[in-house]
Structures are given as C-alpha cells and as structure tokens.
C-alpha cells in the first residue's frame, strides 16, 4: 500500500539565488530508488494550500535514511516551504512517477546529462547512480546568471561539467545548446530536464536516443485526475506525467 509520511526536516537552507536545499528524514527513503522520481508535498499544514507541490528527488542517502530536494521559490507554496524550519515535520507523498533508467546500458556508456535551471536537481541522483555503475557522465547545466548556479562542484565530483549562463557571468555565455554545439561530440545516451524550450532545442539537436523529464501542473500526482497529460508522439493517445513520466523516452512524447 502507498503511504504518506510526516517526514522530519533536517535542513532547509538557501544555496543560491531563490534556491533552497531541503533535507528530510524518514521511512519513505527506503522506497526511493529511481532517479527522476518526485515527491508530492504539502507546503504547509491546513488549508493554506489546496494542492500539493511536485518536487524532484535530488539525492537519496539510504544509509542515513534521508533524501534531499532543491527548490526555487516561485509562488505561495514554495515560499511557505522556504519558511519551514529544521525539526518540523513535512507531509510527503511519494516517491511518485517513473524516473530515468540506469540499468541495461552497455559497459562504460557515455552519458550526457543536460539540465536547465530548476531542472538540474534530478540529474544529480542520476549522475550518482550512473557513475556508481561505471558509466561516464558529462553534465551540461545552464542558468540565467552566476548567482543562480548550484551544485556545480557536486557534479564535478562525478564527471566533467560544463556551465552555461545566459549573461555569460559564469562558464559559457548562452544556453546549454551552445555548449553542446561547441564542446560535445561524443556521447551514447542523453538525459535531460529543464524548461520546455530547452528540452525542444536539445531534442532537435540530439535526436530521439535519450530521455526527457517533463513538467506539468498537477492535481492528484497519482494518476487519477488527468490534470497532467501530454501527447504521445505517434498516434492519438496521451500519457500522464505523474505516473507514466515525468521521464519519457524522447521519441515517445511531444515535448
């Protein structure tokens, strides 16, 4: 049976402009396996928010029984979340959805991870799991400006990292696709998460041999309300981002 847990907040602190690192402890961590899965959380108790907020799992520490998320303060929910204190309990539903694959690749597959802005967090757990299996990870992460950059060093411990910023204040000036055009020629599989225009640009360049993680507004988060659908690429069907995704094969859905 699926559960909800009131997990203990160990840490909730800013690490970049409007970006917070939130670490939680509890039993649900035992069920977290696949990178790219998300949790659906209640930002505050009571009726302050009607809907839960989907946030990606960024780092699973099974031994410590904790996991970490990174979120950016946007509207009401994430702002309420940013005021929560260590020691408080947070109502968590999850892990939910279908994540990135990490099994079934040939020996030392060259994995290209491409993330934009708040799409970067799920790639961190992915990078950890891929390197743990002996694959080679190159990460390309894009942000607006130097003050928005996070986890660059963390990714560097796991492989080669390129940073792009739109204003050029850090790394390559421009978008992740500019880095790809300039520096990346050899890769076997790609994995990407970020804003839709970025996903489209990445897919247009790299083709169907990869996985994309989609974002969509959600109601239930468990597949019941049909708020979060996206179109299948071939045929007239649809897929639910909350259960069939958020990660899909690039050839499977219309990005």
């Amino acid at each position: 049976m699926k559960r909800i847990e009131r997990m203990k907040i160990l840490k909730n602190r800013p690490i970049a402009s409007r970006i917070y690192e939130l670490e939680l402890e509890g039993d649900l961590v035992k069920e977290m396996k696949s990178p790219g899965q998300f949790v659906h959380l209640k930002a505050a108790d009571g009726l302050d928010t009607t809907l839960r907020r989907p946030i990606s799992i960024c780092h699973i520490d099974r031994e410590a029984g904790t996991f970490t998320m990174l979120y950016r303060t946007e509207g009401k929910g994430t702002q309420l979340l940013s005021r929560r204190q260590a020691g408080e309990r947070l109502d968590v539903l999850g892990p939910l959805g279908t994540g990135f694959p990490v099994e079934g690749f040939s020996h030392q597959t060259r994995c290209l991870l491409i993330g934009g802005g708040i799409g970067v967090p799920p790639l961190y757990e992915l990078a950890r799991q891929l390197t743990a299996r002996g694959h080679k990870v190159t990460t390309v992460i894009g942000f607006r400006s130097a003050e928005d950059v996070f986890y660059e060093d963390a990714f560097r411990e796991l492989g080669y990292v390129y940073v792009a910023t739109e204003d050029g204040s850090r790394g390559t000036k421009g978008f992740v696709t500019d880095v790809i055009d300039r520096h990346i020629s050899e890769w076997d599989r790609y994995f990407t998460c970020g804003p839709r225009p970025m996903l489209r640009a990445v897919e247009a360049r790299l083709g169907p041999d990869g996985w994309v993680s989609l974002e969509e507004r959600m109601g239930c988060g468990v597949g019941a309300c049909l708020a979060c659908v996206c179109d299948e690429k071939n045929g007239s069907g649809y897929r639910k981002v909350c259960t069939d995704g958020p990660v899909f094969r690039a050839e499977e859905v219309v990005v």
Partner: protein, 313 residues
Amino acid sequence: MTDMRVSLPGLEMKNPVMPASGCFGFGKEYSEFYDLSRLGAICVKAVTPEMRKGNPTPRVAETGGGMLNAIGLQNPGLSHVMEDELIWLQQFDVPVIVNIAGNTPDDYCRVASAVSDLPNVSAVELNISCPNVKEGGIAFGTDPVIARELTEKVKQVCSVPVYVKLSPNVTDIVSIARAVEAGGADGLSMINTLLGMRIDLNTGRPVLANGSGGLSGAAIKPVAVRMIHAVSQEVSIPIIGMGGVTCAEDALELILAGASAVAVGTQNFADPFACPSIIDGLTETVKRYNVNAISELTGRSWRTSDRQILTAR
C-alpha cells in the same frame, strides 16, 4: 454506536461517504492507498460514448481555498470503461455510480443503457453541469425544460436509479431541481463546480489553457450548503451533497443542510486518505448528537417537524 448506514435509491451504503466524480479516476490509483470496500460508494469519472481527449494543459490552477480545473471530460470511452474499469471494480464490496456526460441526449442514453446492465453498477449520475466542454454539458443543466426532457429520456432506457448532478451556475437552482424530479430523477447530486478564472500576472493571460474552469474545494462549501439547504426543502428525492468537503465536520454540515450522502472531491488531491479519514471522523463526530442513525441528521437545519433543537454534546 450510531448507525452509519444510509439507504438511497440503488445504493445501500455502509456509510454516507463517497469520492466525487472526476477526483478518483476509476478507483485504481486510490486502491493503492486503502481498501476501496471501506467507502460508502464510488462515483467514477464522467464516461462519454467515445473516448475524449480533453482540453490542452495547463488544466488546473490553485486558488484561495480551492482550485480551478478544465480537464474537459477526458475519458477512455464507453467500451473501454465497460470492458476494463467497471469489471475491475467488481472485486470490491461497494456500490458503483457511473457519471455520464455527452453532447446530445442520445449520448447520455447510450451510456446509461449500456452501463446499467452491468451487475456492479448501482446507479448513474447525469453530469448536466460540466463547465468545461463546448457543447452539451452545462447547457442541459441551465434550462429546466431541457433538463427534464433529458432525465425522462434516460429514465426510459436505464435499468438502475438515475441521479442528476446539478450546476450551481444558475439563477434558480430550485427550478432545475424540481424539473428533473418531475422528469423522474431518483436523486440529485449537488453541486458541481462554479465557473471561474485566474489570470497570470506575468503573461497577462488566463492561467488555464481553456481560459475558464470549474472552481472546487473548501472555498465553495458555503455555496453548496446554501443550495442543498434550499433544494432539499423543495424536493422529495434524496441529495448526494458535495462541494468543499475537507473533513468530517464539513460532511456533517452538508448532511444537516439536507444531504443524505456526501461526496468528497478536491480533498482527495491534498490527502489521498481523505475519504477513509472523513468516514472515521464522521463516526466519531456523530456520537456528539443524540441520534441512533446518521440518517436522522439529514436536513436537521430546516426540519421543523421535530421542534427539538439539535444539541451537540
């Protein structure tokens, strides 16, 4: 122990609580959280004769104390629902209500006559009040003559009791309620969502791709209470009450207003365990009243036949 059972046309319910249509799919997802046999009944997502793709996304937006949705009646269509979803639900000891939508009276009749032949379908609910589709839907629910004719037509072909789900987006809901009662409805469900809109301050455009959507959740409960209070005094068929129920006290308020059973919609999204926890809460809360059965509380806010004032302990 207060008797929690309620008995409505076609529905022998263990307790008065069911999920509301569209907020529970066909039950599968929530069966991973708890045993669906605990529910008083299950009301499934609207079914149309053919599969429907629904509206573009974004389809939901949060609002103060509630949410807007414009799903657009997406569903896999009658034959898939018959061959898969409804068969799957047979494993649970719980009455099933099939919510039906369509563009024409014939659409409603086709679905009603087909699903009412299945052994575990205990009743149908005509959604004549969906705000999120271009044709049909709400048009049937805003004109008493059309609403009555539709009810009569479905009654002729449907072998299980027919509930008609009323729209709150009307000037005089009582006249619609009376019309469908005259058309032979066995019960009423109320209320569906209220038409609403949100505008994104960054883009200056509506948040929902559909523009407007249906408002649900805690914010609409006072509207539901008032409408159930008004309608229940004017009709003699039972009411399944819904609109903004988040806890046992809310459910009780709808019952006191005049509902015989209560459906829970949006709260399932905030808490997947909403229905069982409201059932447990209600079992506790009714103990405060001096009644043998929860059904005695229906309409107690206006029933003057017993002059006793209801006192909670």
